[in-house]
């Protein structure tokens, strides 16, 4: 049975990933900041483990809990939007640091801590949730300073990681879910089930040669 760990699986895209991979017979571990409030995740049949993605001790705790267990796929999905509407002068240092801490640094810390598990797995996929907003080339309307910066930073990190872990044959792939109706978007966008169905197909088809790519739920690559 293939296994997958999804961070930030209490709602939105993470929860739906847990549901769809679980329904397809995968062994799913979903993380929650507050496992006591993760009823919807538990209802999918997933195993729930605690994780505050920005806390080194919490990441270490997760790695300890999973010690010796192979993981085929890790998806660093937990993310925050920060203040999406702030104009340049209104963006605060706190917002910037919190958003890049959660969206850029935490995914690297997570997959690094779980590297032994990935190495013990067969598929060896380290995925992170990027976004259309990460693309500098396609940025032609501005806004979302902290969020955009965090996802562009994430892309650079993952590209670098893809080279670093080539020798380990761990493929490091960036995913773009599209514009999806979740709490993050205030319920606007496509149904989460549609985005995740696409993402699942993409993830299932990934192999070592896909390392370093930024792929959408529709299977299309995005420019940097």
């Amino acid at each position: 049975m293939s296994s997958i760990l999804i961070s930030g699986a209490t709602r939105g895209i993470g929860l739906e990933l847990a549901r769809q991979f679980g329904a397809d017979g995968w062994d799913v571990i979903g993380t929650a900041r507050d496992p006591g409030a993760a009823g919807a995740l538990r209802d999918t049949g997933a195993e729930v483990l605690p994780l505050e993605a920005t806390d080194a001790a919490s990441i270490a705790g997760l790695a300890r809990a999973l010690d010796g267990r192979p993981l085929d796929v890790v998806i660093a999905n937990a993310g925050i939007s920060g203040d999406l509407t702030a104009r340049a002068a209104q963006v605060t240092r706190e917002d910037f640091l919190q958003v890049v801490g959660t969206n850029t640094f935490a995914p690297l810390a997570l997959v690094s801590a779980l590297k032994p598990n990935l190495l013990a797995g067969t598929r060896r996929l380290a995925c992170a949730m990027s976004s259309l907003m990460s693309s500098v080339t396609l940025n032609d309307w501005g806004t979302q300073f902290s969020y955009r910066a965090s996802k562009s930073g994430l892309n650079a990190v993952w590209r670098s990681l893809s080279l670093d872990w080539k020798t380990n044959r761990i493929a490091c792939v960036l995913l773009r879910p599209g514009f999806v109706a979740t709490e993050m978007t205030g319920g606007q966008g496509m149904p989460v089930a549609d985005s995740v169905a696409g993402l699942k197909t993409v993830v299932e088809g990934l192999g070592p040669d896909d390392t370093g790519r930024l792929i959408g739920f529709d299977g299309k690559d995005l420019p940097w």
Binding site: R87, V91, V100, T104, N139, S152, A156, V157
Partner: protein
């Protein structure tokens, strides 16, 4: 006399740019992490005003903005960065070092310009150029690692492009310029138009 603000003008490439513009009769506001070398201070003459700037400190950015309140700035050129730790593996990336690189390389230049928006609006040329190697965001690396540095530069490039979109509303242009000698950079700045910025932005 036009006014230019240059960050990290205490050393090249900022110092070469400050010298170029001062010789060309611009007033130079040097916003520096470290003091200008005494010989450079003398050589730059009466056209230079030096302000100290700690990119890790919000109070310091605010102080620079306060000191420049009401002063039109025609052109700003941001230079200077902190190098990373190229060989450090992913498992050993240190959160504090990461945070400092993000603040120095990405946040501080963005924050400084955001707080100087009114000064730039009041300037004639309205160019806010970031001197940074576009290669840093092509994500087409030949070597692995250097995670914190690469993240900071990618974030910076995206912040700059986003700034360019926002400043367009009042005619501002925010190009990313690849390193070159001072005369070449000055020529590119002089020719910067919104279309030019679009091309320079990768």
């Amino acid at each position: 006399m036009p006014t230019i603000l240059i960050t990290d003008a205490h050393r090249d490439p900022g110092l070469a740019l400050a010298t170029h513009y001062a010789n060309d009769d611009w007033e130079v506001i040097a916003v520096n992490r470290a003091p200008l070398p005494p010989a450079a201070f003398v050589a730059l003459g009466a056209n230079v005003r030096e302000l100290r700037f700690d990119p890790l400190s919000e109070a310091s950015v605010r102080d620079v903005a306060l000191r420049l309140r009401g002063r039109p700035i025609d052109v700003a050129i941001l230079t200077g960065e902190t190098a990373g730790e190229p060989g450090r593996p992913a498992e050993a990336v240190d959160p504090d070092h990461w945070r400092d690189l993000m603040l120095v390389n990405a946040w501080a230049p963005f924050r400084l310009i955001a707080l100087l928006e009114d000064n730039l609006k009041a300037g004639a040329q309205k160019v806010v150029a970031m001197l940074s190697d576009p290669e840093a965001y092509l994500a087409d690396y030949g070597t692995p690692r250097d995670y914190a540095y690469r993240a900071s530069k990618a974030s910076l490039h995206q912040l700059w492009r986003t700034l360019d979109m926002e400043f367009r509303a009042w005619g501002g242009v925010c190009p990313l310029l690849a390193p070159a000698d001072a005369a070449e950079i000055a020529a590119r700045v002089a020719a910067a138009t919104p279309d030019e910025a679009a091309r320079a932005r990768l």
